[in-house]
């Protein structure tokens, strides 16, 4: 029972960290603070993956979101002239449409959250997930995997194309 309590403490710690930092991302008045708060959100989500036994997913979350996307966002903010000390307005505009949209999205999410049969962590496979993920990607899901890699390659070539200096 005590061990259970410990794992619950760990879970609630990371849940609060994730949601709290996500709130900072939304409400912070400076853009760069939002970006740095995103670090804790990504970290908390990775920790929750690890908590659920998805070790490979947790490490991938860190590599891609913290090591890649967040650095890209920070670079984008810092390299954009006079954007990083811009104060963002957090006034409320369009109150009624926003409330309607939020309630609708929340209703849809809540509906599916309550209806789905979730895996309980007790019934989950505990053990290495890397090998089975690799086998699935290379056998059953080879087509979506390759389509995704071609898409990424296209984006890469496209980006290089746009920034290339054309001969005058």
């Amino acid at each position: 029972m005590d061990k259970n309590l410990l794992s619950q403490i760990v879970f609630y710690f990371f849940a609060v960290l994730t949601i709290g930092s996500a709130a900072v991302v939304v409400f912070a008045r400076s853009l760069i603070r939002s970006a740095f708060a995103l670090l804790f959100t990504f970290f908390g989500v990775a920790a929750l993956y690890a908590y659920l036994g998805a070790d490979f997913l947790a490490a991938t979350q860190m590599v891609i979101y913290v090591g890649g996307i967040l650095v890209l966002i920070l670079f984008g903010i810092m390299l954009t002239h006079k954007l990083y000390d811009l104060k963002i307005k957090t006034a409320s505009v369009q109150l009624i449409p926003a409330v309607i949209a939020v309630v609708a999205v929340f209703a849809v999410l809540a509906f599916f959250m309550l209806r789905t049969q979730w895996f309980q962590s007790g019934s989950m496979l505990s053990g290495p997930t890397t090998a089975s993920i690799g086998n699935l990607l290379m056998q059953d899901f080879i087509l979506p995997f390759e389509v995704a890699s071609v898409l990424l390659l296209l984006a890469l070539i496209g980006a290089a194309m746009i920034v290339r200096r054309r001969p005058e």
Binding site: L6, I32, T60, M62, V63, G67, V71, L74, M78, P128
Partner: protein, 347 residues
Amino acid sequence: MESIAQLLQKIPKYDGLPEMLQALIPIIVSSIVIFALLALAVLFMVWLERKVSAHIQDRLGPMVVGGWHGWAQTIADALKLLLKEDIVPESVDRVLFKMAPFIVFLGAFAAFVVLPFGASSFVTDLNIGILYIVAVSSLSVIGIIMAGWASNNKYSLYGSMRAAAQVISYEIPAAVAIMTVVIYVGSLSMVEIVRAQEGGFLNWFLFRNPFLFLAFIVYFIASLAEVNRTPFDLPEAESELVAGYHTEYSGMRFAFFFLAEYANMFLVSSVAATLFLGGWTAPFSILQFIPGPVVFFVKALVLIFIQMWMRWSLPRLRVDQLMYINWKVLLPISFALILGAGWMAIL
């Protein structure tokens, strides 16, 4: 961690403690052990760096404190740094400024958890060991950007941008070079990787085939850039940027950056020793009586010595040369290596 837990079991009345404490105490004790080990290694490495640099330049280096060749010099320096006033400049972003050194250090410290120092001396053996190391080291990059931005100083900002650009670029060839080893082992676990190299130095991945030998060199060069060592020390190029991203830091917070830098040097050397030099396994069967951790530290120290040797022998690269080496030299080579190593593995 298991061996620490077993040791703790021998303490009288340990079983009487609540289960929650019994689960927590081994975690806390092993963190303290790793931290102490890291601090000791860093103190030794700083002293070694000063001695190596001195002798390369035909000087003697620290000779006074502690008596024999100034061995206590870094202990005195560390104490001085810890006792200094904690200065926070007027116009910095206080929260981020104070947080940054700890995030940089966290990235280095967290990776030590999976390093296999010996056959049974490691904190934990994760299934995703080496991927975990790559993952947590990305925390340091964010910490460096945070330090550079929060300092509100142009040299800090330039330094941190250079550091981040350099680290995320050189991560790619380093990771691809790591993958060549993973192809042979078929596992990401650090302990499994060392087990696959048991039985003399000819079984080390370094000497298995030419592709792996080149992969080691690619990893070594890329890791030099990842820890911002010369010839890739542009982020803290003294002559242009004062001290790079830690220009505004002093006292204990500066000490944390320093600690993280040397811890990262030790980390990349240990990863290279684990992946390519057989980790804790002895090179010859007659040397097998030497305990695993000693062999491991000797291998890591040899690589660290080579890093220092290069620092005091080579000039610094230009930014464009840095990017040229990564994207046009190391990356194509590492892709060719992964193809070649995969082909050799199938044969």
